[in-house]
Amino acid sequence: MATREELRSMPGGLTPARRRFPRGAAVTLALLCLAVVLVPAFARLDQQLVDLHSASLPPSLAHPFGTDEVGRDVLLRAVYGLRVSVLVGLAAAAVSVTIGTLAGLAAGAAGGTLDRLIMRVVDGFNSVPHLLFGIFIVALFTPSTTAVVVSVALTHWMTAARIVRSEVLTLRARPFVDAAIGGGSGRLRIVRRHFLPHLTPHITLAAVLMVPHAVWHETALSFLGLGLPPHLASLGNMINDGARSLLAGNWWASLFPGLFIFLPTLAISALAQYGRDRSSPRRRSELQL
């Protein structure tokens, strides 16, 4: 009786073990969230404190991430920076999903010319590279938190618009909408009473998935010097400041703050991957029975 183990080496034939829950990712994300929420409350160190005696110190026990050019603790500032970036990211995600929802609702519910027009505008916005568009917006207005939020929102609303539009189109085909129209409900009332409740989960998911994008966008703008005002300890500003002393050998001031973008993004993508795997089990048809 021979069991055919060789099959396991058949190219592409290996079926992977069921993906395990990415515990490391969840723990990392939880720790970062805790740090962001708690540290500003506990560590009453003035984060703007300038101490030239301890400038550009390499990582040590007292300063695990080292200190920057003017002697500020990089770890503490990075935690504050993450907080700023996440807040800006949340605001931008909220604004962009709101714009997207309104546009998608209008396109899906009105149909016809308005629908086509809105979808052409979506295509138009998608044709300009997002970062360049964001740069354009920030450049023409004074660099400020508002400008960054507007820039991120204006370059990211299209995804939400598409999702909402296609959901509305599916909903319109459902009988309860016909019933509502037959019952004499007005358009706005139908949108409010019937569409919005069904759309809420989709909109929420879109908003959550938008946050890492928004943070990335904000960070990139700040890194280019076109983002948040320089005095704000955002991650992008910190990497931008730190990059100047990189050639002098001070790597910790720019590379450690980057970890605070890299790790949560990686953790979120691992969790999202896990979620996708769970929701789409292997199809039986793959077995060629």
């Binding site: 190219p11 300009v128 590279p129 997002h130 360049l132 354009f136 990139a220 990497i239």
Partner: protein
């Protein structure tokens, strides 16, 4: 095939003209909504001492006192005639600036694209073929991590390792500061890091895409058919599976131009590469509307061209589309 190609190109072009019109209009509206006053910016420190009368005359000279619609049409007309205006921050014609810098961007982005394509194909195919092996885990793990890492951060890590610690390669610029001429060998040395970082940062999605696509294709009937014929493994993977798996990839590649532009902006800036992408950042920092507008339009054109190229490649590559035409 030519008929299908022609129909598709016509369709694309018909879409392009209104698109560019919308983009120019959008930029113009944003510029007008901007609190920056181009005249004050032009005068700089002199703005305080210049009499309002002179400022008014400059304004009239630039047509800024005309109605907005007229201003827009004048600007659009100039663009169509190839007059891109004068860069306010660099005080030179925009067309000249772009002409000077475009070559460097195309050189860097072109090389990066070639490196990225070759590398991703080999690595993605290897990962799919040896799915579940340590090589697959290393390749897909790196690709996932790369997806999460901002490109400017990756660039800084690379600079620190290869330019600061190991001192193998220069950290940026086009040539050594000391050299007055542009020697090819010198440029090549300065090109390696930016090209490598751009290629690496753009490759992660491609590696994962090739891997996924090939894994699916390896289960297809025609791959099983090819294997059942007794063909060599290499032939089965390369000439049957990979060749079919790459079809959707040509379209996706064209659709990635926006990401390529984004990557080029960040990488050129980090490495002080004198291309058009880094010029857009400099233009933005100086609120230089003519230059920024021209560069944005250029990028939009690149996106449209990328889409057209992708469709063309698809029509040529897929015999099914070639015969049936674009549906």
């Amino acid at each position: 095939m030519t008929r299908a190609l022609g129909r598709m190109a016509a369709w694309r072009l018909a879409f392009t003209a209104p698109l560019l019109l919308v983009v120019t209009l959008g930029m113009f509206v944003l510029a007008k909504a901007s609190p920056f006053d181009p005249v004050r910016q032009y005068l700089g420190d002199r703005a305080v001492t210049t009499s309002p009368e002179i400022a008014r005359r400059i304004r009239a000279n630039w047509g800024l006192d005309r109605p907005l619609a007229e201003q827009y049409l004048t600007w659009l007309g100039n663009l169509l005639r190839g007059d891109l205006g004068e860069s306010r921050s660099m005080h030179r014609p925009v067309a000249e600036l772009i002409g000077e810098r475009l070559g460097w961007t195309l050189l860097a982005v072109g090389c990066a694209t070639v490196v990225m394509l070759a590398g991703s194909l080999v690595l993605g195919a290897l990962a799919a073929w040896r799915r579940g092996s340590w090589a697959d885990r290393l390749i897909s793990g790196t690709a996932y991590a790369n997806e999460a890492a901002p490109v400017f951060w990756t660039a800084l890590i690379v600079i620190w390792i290869f330019a600061v610690k190991l001192r193998w390669l220069p950290p940026g610029g086009l040539t050594d500061a000391a050299s007055g001429t542009v020697a090819p060998a010198d440029v090549l040395r300065h090109m390696i890091l930016p090209v490598a970082v751009l290629a690496f940062s753009q490759s992660s999605w491609l590696v994962l895409f090739v891997r996924e696509s090939l894994i699916t294709t390896l289960r297809e009937d025609f791959v099983i058919g090819a294997r059942a014929r007794g063909l060599r493994e290499r032939t089965v993977v390369v000439r049957h599976a990979l060749r079919s798996a790459l079809l959707p990839f040509v379209t996706l590649l064209g659709a990635r131009v926006p990401e390529l532009v984004t990557g080029a902006i960040l990488v050129e800036t980090v490495f002080s590469w004198p291309g058009v992408a880094s010029a857009s950042v400099q233009a933005a920092l100086a609120a230089d509307f003519p230059l920024l507008a021209a560069l944005t339009l250029l990028a939009t054109l690149a996106v449209v061209a990328g889409n057209l190229l992708a469709d063309t490649a698809y029509v040529i590559a897929d015999p099914r589309v070639r015969v049936l035409g674009v549906s």
